[in-house]
């Protein structure tokens, strides 16, 4: 068994052990296995990374076993480890391990402790399968698997109907995207004849595959990506997914799984390089999503909802980067985002922990002194996401803004404008969150206030690590590291001059957001209330998320229901099919009434008929055969 | 052709005498060992008087087995007034015969070249070499299971045809117990088959002749210690001995499915049980204890790890192998008797629970782990 297989199998072992034996062997065992397996996987990943480096960055391929042969094509469970995979695998295992450790503190009182860790390990297994898979097929298995794990974990407290429904919603919305993904796979398989991703990329870049299919394939795969990475129009599941335990939100719905779409597009960059139309669509969808989610986030009061919409918005940023061909930059943002968003979510978890389960930021305030570690880490991560230099978010966001303007593959001033505005909004709502949560007067009930306490070291330690990473992570230039694999797009002529303008602009934007939030929400947030009062209509729209769920309900669900009720059921089923069948059945019944005399109910006679029939057919066969 | 026949007959004769000998001696060993274990003396009175003299050969009571046999032969054969005398009469044989047949596939020695034993024999036998096994079948271990399946039918027929409630209960118990444990037995052996990659018993034994890790004999028990334990337990349950003797539990069912049997018919049941002890010993030896192999010994003689070697003539090798096999079988039998006199009996529901909820999953787990390990090692 090779090292790559080992990486994948370790969390699976954890899943099996925890799932089968966890409840019997106690929390110590569960924690040890649950955290040990990801940690070992992380260690092995580092070893693989060093091997990769030692081998002069030549990709490592490994076939675990041949799944099946269909005709000449063999479908293998094979793994592929190159620079892109290395980055993703390190994020997944590293952040994953940290979040596992955090969970030991966060979930300590839960009665389904073992089940939780089993699911978490299962998720990690599928995520690694997704990231390490060499062929689209393996990737797809991982893709579906993380969907399953996400469903299980969102609905982890399935006793609560709302949470169970959120799990279902995530699952079903993802299926829509998966349908696109599957179609894309079919098209690829029929066009290229293989599902091996290196092969596919080569086929598309060398032009061996028909060029017309590139955009189609790109779009179909992108539909899958919108589902998993929560882009318009399929982003609606992600905010609801916050029903799961907070570490899950951090791991799955911020750091790893939702970036799978980004990874997919980056991995299939060979296709998108030849599909300018698809790339344009991606950029447009990304920008729209980013803007829309950011505006919604302005008006949310649930701490996790704000973070969820911020995630959607950041994913939009990544897709803009993908759309303008800056794949390395998108992965860079995935990487920095993993740190600061995980830190934010875990910090939020710590806050919720401290607040005995309260999630409404209107009922918080003044927490900075009571939970200082959480506050500092949260503030650091907020600064990072807002893009304050020299924190990691600054670098990646700045790169995205730069390529949104300057990329030779679709950069424009319009795109830059939208993204810059979104960045401003990002800084604003993040600092709003920070202010409402940690500053000002305490607005919570007395008992809750009395109980506020700092989280155990297993949680704060993780927070500190993540905060440090989100502070310094930006100095590692992922785009240049990935340059040999996915080249950065050429810069439009005459744009070099604007580079420092963009850098300066993005710093200014971040600071503006900070200052604005401080201005509006400082003290008792009276100014904000005034603004809200004067824009009540807009606020309601934003607070209700543009009524997207309702729109979906009105324009998709109800018509569908009506069609299935009126057309398919009443007309098709009852009248046509049933009518025909009933007619036939009555004919048959009348005939059968006569034939049923043959049915004597005596098994002997039936057997005798068989005998007679056999003799007859044998005789006929001998005579005529 | 004729040489083959002669060799076969010799082997068959050897096998039957070994089995019968074990059957007879084990009846004595069982009592004697139980006595020694519990600080008693045990059977020691049966003797043979040399005719015409007063010299009595007691030999530690070794003749008790013979005395038992004689007693059973001479006793009156009571028959219940049953509704199916045919099933009643046939049942003991259905139990007894398959037990003997199982030995056909067990290799009890390496290979035999009569010409090398004694020069003049080559005139008749030529240079041919025979493996010391009655039937060299490629389905070896399957045959064993097939025949042990037959005995279930015998036990059930016996219990049913006795027209006795105790017998019927015993038969029902025997049926379900033996089927359950046969499954476990099969599963444990499957792991071994994975390790050896064959079902041929002779090939299995040959694979166990080497050395692993430099000093350990490459016996099955080294590779599959867990399966060995399960196998032994399941085999004892198959044989319906304590602690699994529910089908014939004296305190509940008198003698279970053979309550209504007397004289030699009953003796056949008992004899079958004792021979099956030997068969289990032989199987366990073959599968897990390296069969006729002594560590460091090959067809040429001994070769120790240090480099020292002792050459041996063919005859000595053959005798050593035969002796080794018999000794191992005897030790395993003795171990079974040790178990029988140590452990208390299960309750009936516990027996089946034990099979299905404890041993079956364990055997399955063992199989899975073995499969994974074998796959990992081979690939």
């Amino acid at each position: 068994m090779g090292l790559l297989t080992l990486i994948v199998v370790l969390p699976l072992v954890g899943f099996v052990l925890n799932g089968l034996l966890g409840n019997r062997l106690g929390k110590g065992f569960v924690s040890a296995v649950g955290c040990g397996m990801p940690a070992m996987a992380f260690a092995v990943t580092i070893k693989c990374f060093l091997d990769l480096k030692g081998a002069g960055w030549a990709p490592i391929a490994e076939t675990a076993y041949v799944w099946t042969m269909v005709g000449q094509d063999s479908f293998e469970v094979a793994f592929w480890f190159d620079r892109l995979t290395a980055v993703m695998a390190l994020i997944v295992t590293g952040v994953g391990t940290l979040i596992h450790v955090y969970s030991t503190g966060y979930m300590h009182e839960d009665k389904s402790y073992a089940r939780y860790f089993a699911y978490l390990n299962l998720f990690l297994f599928f995520m690694l399968l997704l990231v390490l898979g060499k062929s689209l097929l393996v990737l797809f298995v991982g893709w579906e698997g993380v969907g399953l794990a996400s469903y299980l974990l969102i609905g982890f407290w399935f006793g609560d109907m709302e949470k169970a429904a959120a799990g279902k919603k995530a699952f079903i919305v993802n299926r829509i995207g998966d349908a696109g993904f599957l179609l894309g796979m079919f098209v690829i398989y029929s066009a290229v004849g293989t599902l091996d991703m290196p092969h596919i990329n080569k086929a598309f870049t060398s032009g061996a595959a028909p060029a017309v299919s590139a955009s189609l394939v790109g779009l179909l795969l992108f539909i899958g990506a919108t589902g998993k990475s929560a882009q318009i129009p399929l982003y609606v599941w992600l905010p609801d997914a916050m029903a799961g335990p907070t570490p899950v939100s951090a791991l799955i719905h911020a750091a790893t799984m939702v970036t799978a779409g980004v990874y997919l597009v980056a991995r299939m960059s060979g296709i998108y390089l030849n599909a300018p139309e698809a790339s344009t669509v991606i950029a447009a969808v990304g920008a729209l999503t980013a803007l829309m989610a950011a505006t919604i986030a302005l008006a949310q009061d649930d701490i996790k909802k704000v973070l969820a919409y911020s995630t959607v918005s950041q994913l939009g940023f990544m897709f803009v980067a993908l759309g303008v061909g800056a794949y390395g930059v998108a992965v860079f943002h995935v990487y920095t985002h993993a740190f600061f968003k995980a830190c934010l979510f875990l910090g939020a978890g710590s806050v919720i922990h401290a607040m005995s389960g309260e999630q409404d930021i209107k009922k918080m305030g003044g927490l900075a002194k009571k939970i200082p570690i959480t506050f500092f880490t949260f503030a650091l991560a907020t600064a990072a996401i807002a893009g304050i230099p020299p924190l990691s978010g600054f670098f990646s966001k700045d790169e995205i803004l730069w390529y949104a303007l300057a990329s030779g593959r679709g950069g424009s001033w319009l795109l830059l404008g939208v993204m810059a505005f979104t960045a401003l909004l990002t800084a604003f709502y993040m600092f709003r969150l920070l202010w409402l949560t940690f500053f000002g007067k305490p607005r919570m009930i007395k008992e809750v206030e009395h109980h506020i306490h700092e989280s155990p070291p297993s949680m704060t330690g993780v927070l500190v690590i993540l905060a440090v990473l989100s502070a310094v992570g930006g100095f590692l230039s992922i785009p240049h590291f990935l340059e040999p694999l996915v080249a950065l797009p050429a810069v439009r002529p005459g744009m070099d001059a604007f580079h420092y303008f963009v850098v300066g602009g993005s710093i200014a934007i971040a600071l503006a957001g900070l200052v604005g939030a401080a201005y509006f929400f400082g003290g008792d947030a009276a100014r904000a209330a005034k603004v809200r009062a004067s824009f009540a209509g807009a606020y309601r729209v934003l607070n209700n998320k543009y009524y997207v769920d309702e729109l979906y309900d009105r324009f998709i669900n109800r018509p569908l229901l009506w069609i299935s009720e009126a057309v398919f059921l009443k007309l098709g089923d009852r009248l046509l099919i049933d009518g025909t069948l009933n007619g036939l059945a009555s004919v048959a019944q009348r005939t059968a009434g006569r034939l049923s005399r043959v049915q004597t109910g005596s098994l002997h006679k039936y057997a005798f008929m068989v005998l007679v029939g056999m003799v007859a057919s044998l005789v006929w066969m001998w005579r005529n055969g | 052709m004729i040489a083959d026949l002669v060799i076969s007959l010799v082997f068959i004769g050897y096998a039957i005498s070994v089995l019968m000998g074990f059957g007879t001696i084990l009846t004595w060993v069982e009592r004697k060992q139980a006595a020694v274990m519990s600080d008693r003396i045990g059977a020691n009175r049966a003797y043979i008087r040399i005719p015409g003299t007063q010299v009595k050969l007691v030999w530690l009571g070794l003749f008790h087995g013979m005395a038992d046999g004689l007693k059973m032969l001479l006793k009156e054969d009571f028959k219940p007034r049953t509704y199916d005398w045919y099933a009643y009469a046939v049942a003991p044989w259905v139990v007894f015969t398959p037990v003997l047949l199982v030995f056909a596939v067990i290799p009890f020695g390496g290979s035999l070249t009569p010409a090398r034993l004694w020069e003049p024999l080559s005139a008749f036998f030529g240079d041919k070499t025979w493996p010391m096994q009655i039937a060299t079948l490629d389905a070896g271990i399957l045959i064993v299971f097939a025949f042990s399946g037959l005995t279930i039918i015998g036990a059930m027929l016996a219990g049913w045809s006795s027209s006795n409630k105790f017998s019927l209960l015993g038969a029902l118990r025997a049926g379900s117990q033996m089927i359950s444990y046969e499954l476990v037995l099969g599963l444990t052996v499957l792991g071994l088959i994975l390790v050896y990659g064959t079902v041929n018993l002779d090939a299995m034994v040959r694979q166990q002749s080497g050395i692993v890790l430099g000093f350990l004999p490459a016996w099955g028990i080294v590779y599959q210690p867990f399966a060995a334990t399960l196998f032994l337990a399941a085999a004892i349950a198959e044989n319906k001995r304590i602690p699994f003797d529910l089908p014939e539990a004296e305190s509940e069912l008198i003698a279970g499915y053979f309550t209504e049997y007397s004289a030699m018919k009953m003796g056949l049941f008992m004899f079958a049980e004792f021979i099956e002890i030997a068969i289990i010993g032989a199987l366990f030896t073959t599968l897990f204890l390296g069969g006729y192999n002594l560590p460091y010994m090959s067809d040429a003689g001994f070769a120790f790890p240090g480099g020292a070697a002792v050459a041996m003539p063919h005859g000595a090798v053959v005798v050593t192998q035969l002796g080794t096999f018999l000794l191992k079988v005897f030790l395993v039998c003795s171990f079974q008797i040790l178990i029988r006199w140590t452990l208390p009996r299960f309750r009936y529901d516990q027996v089946l629970m034990f099979a299905w909820k404890f041993m079956f999953p364990l055997a399955l787990a063992n199989l899975c782990v073995t499969a994974v390990v074998v796959w990992a090692v081979r690939s």
Binding site: G601, S602, L603, A607 | -
Partner: protein
């Protein structure tokens, strides 16, 4: 008549005997056993062909039939037990409830 032909004839006659048994016996269990006999006849035929042709196809089919037979009996016997529970008889003639 060489041995292959003989075995084919035996297979056919086992099948025929089984079928006849199903027709003429009244006891449900005996009928079931006769069905097993029919399966055995088929098995013998397949195995003989496998032996003659030296191919594994026949043997594979025999194996599948083994499994099917085991499955069949595993369902049939509980059904018979249920039937007997209802009507307290094994006579198949009592179970002609499906008369049309």
């Amino acid at each position: 008549m060489d041995k292959v032909q003989m075995l084919q004839v035996l297979a056919a006659s086992l099948f025929a005997l089984g079928l006849t048994g199903v027709i003429i016996r009244r006891n449900v269990l005996v009928m079931l056993m006769c069905m097993e006999l029919m399966l055995n006849g088929v098995n013998l035929s397949l195995a003989t062909f496998a032996h003659t042709m030296g191919s594994a196809v026949g043997a594979v089919l025999v194996f599948l039939i083994f499994v099917v037979a085991a499955a069949e009996i595993a369902i049939a016997i509980p059904i018979v037990l249920l039937l007997v529970r209802r009507k307290r008889t094994l006579d198949i003639e009592s179970y002609s409830d499906l008369k049309g």
